[in-house]
């Protein structure tokens, strides 16, 4: 047995899940389990009780609502890959491998806010919005307010991320990634999108403690200039045995240049 023991229950609905979490603060949500179970197998996480929301139909699938696509949090990476969403299908194609994509979910990834995850860069570049529900009701959080730190998103204990709203007016988008050869996570990823008003938004992931916009890059591209270099000068970069902070900063420049050229 790899993981420590725990209680397990399946949620019958979002409302029932929120009530169960209010009644038992020990409950930990499990979605696709593809970040949580690897951590539990290594006993880096030992939740006493799991609440499974993976099969909740109300959290699956993609709908259109005015100027937005509304993506259920339990939509798998595989379904995102096959969808008509802007930018996210290309990004999903870079997540893990086919088996990971069959189980892992877009909501699980974004709520988890792994600094090496791919979607956060796409959420920032597209200006996605996050619908978060708690016992007190529902709130919507913008992408720029979603990623707070390493493994820390705006989703609070006792809340569920239910939907991701992605603007429909995006005319072009690209994702460039330099990935870790074994884990497949991003060492650096750069996402870019041209919005309905013609403005380009860009963001990076993997290189720092959280995904973030690239204001210098956006300014240059929107002024018709090249991406250039020094895009994250002064920012705190992650350095580890796979890639030094300097190398990651360099990769942000290189991948931004490639992304800008592909975006055209």
């Amino acid at each position: 047995m790899y993981p420590a023991n725990f209680d397990y229950q399946k949620a019958a609905s979002v409302d029932a899940a929120l009530q169960a979490m209010a009644d038992n603060p020990d409950l930990k949500v499990i979605a696709g389990g593809h970040s949580l179970l690897p951590a539990m197998k290594l006993r880096l996480a030992q939740p006493p009780a799991l609440l499974d929301i993976f099969n909740l139909e109300e959290l699956k699938g993609i709908k259109e609502d005015g100027d937005f696509y509304v993506v259920g949090a339990m939509t798998t990476h595989a379904d995102v890959l096959r969808s008509q969403l802007p930018l996210f299908p290309e990004v999903a194609g870079w997540v893990g491998d086919p088996m990971v994509r069959n189980r892992g979910t877009i909501g699980g990834s974004l709520a988890h806010a792994d600094p090496s995850a791919d979607y956060p860069a796409a959420a920032l570049a597209t200006g996605a919005e996050f619908v978060i529900r708690g016992m007190g009701g529902e709130r919507t959080v913008g992408a720029d307010e979603m990623f707070l730190g390493m493994f820390e998103s705006a989703v609070q204990h006792g809340e569920l991320l239910t939907h991701i709203r992605i603007p429909r007016g995006i005319s072009a988008s690209v994702y460039e990634k330099y990935r870790h050869p074994a884990s497949h996570y991003a060492i650096v990823g750069v996402a870019m999108a041209r919005h309905a008003d013609g403005q380009i938004r860009a963001a990076y992931t993997g290189a720092a403690e959280k995904a973030a916009r690239l204001p210098k890059l956006e300014e240059r591209l929107n002024a018709g200039q090249d991406a250039g270099t020094g895009l994250v000068e002064g920012a705190d970069m992650l350095g580890d045995r796979f890639a030094s902070a300097e190398f990651r900063a360099h990769l942000v420049d290189v991948l931004s240049d490639r992304a800008a050229k592909r975006l055209g």
């Binding site: 047995m1 023991n5 389990g33 593809h34 179970l37």
Partner: protein, 165 residues
């Protein structure tokens, strides 16, 4: 907790701890030891099986999460007398040396061929990114999958359970 699963077409009910991984349920409760465990980090793909027709890493699914579902393992896709085209392909093209990764390779490839009956070399390599082989250098694995695709294109049937999952 009680779980009931259809594994390779047969129903099984067992009492398991919630922490039981699907791969351990298959190997230790049902004694279906064709599904292998090659790593502790959800990366190697040796444990790949199909759950409701989709390839998953059974080391990263709890047995209780697969309650009520249809599971197909390497034991379910062919028999020694009636090999699945992928099994024939791996045999004919020497797609294995030690064989440890082969069940996972075959289950992952079976999902690919279901959606894409004549994949290019690049598509095969992309689809097998979650399956690690430490012997072959992958070249013969690609040939094995191409060989299987040819057999299937010529009407060679997928034997066993994978045909209808």
């Amino acid at each position: 907790m009680n779980v009931t699963m259809n594994v390779n077409g047969k129903p099984y009910t067992r009492d398991v701890e919630p922490r039981t991984l699907l791969v351990h349920f298959l190997r230790e409760d049902l004694l279906l030891t064709g599904t292998h465990v090659g790593c502790d980090t959800s990366q190697c793909g040796a444990c790949t099986v199909h759950v409701d027709g989709e390839a998953v890493k059974s080391c990263t699914v709890l047995a209780v999460q697969a309650d009520g579902m249809d599971v197909t393992t390497i034991e379910g896709i062919g028999t020694p007398g009636d090999l699945h085209p992928l099994q024939t392909g791996f045999w004919e093209k020497h797609g294995l040396q030690c064989g440890y990764c082969t069940p996972g390779m075959i289950m992952a490839s079976a999902e690919l061929l279901k959606h894409n009956p004549s994949p290019s070399e690049q598509e095969i390599r992309y689809h097998l990114e979650g399956n690690y082989c430490r012997c072959t250098g992958y070249h013969n694995i690609v040939k094995a999958v191409q060989h299987a695709a040819e057999i299937m294109a010529q009407g060679g049937q997928a034997g066993g359970q994978a045909a209808d999952d």
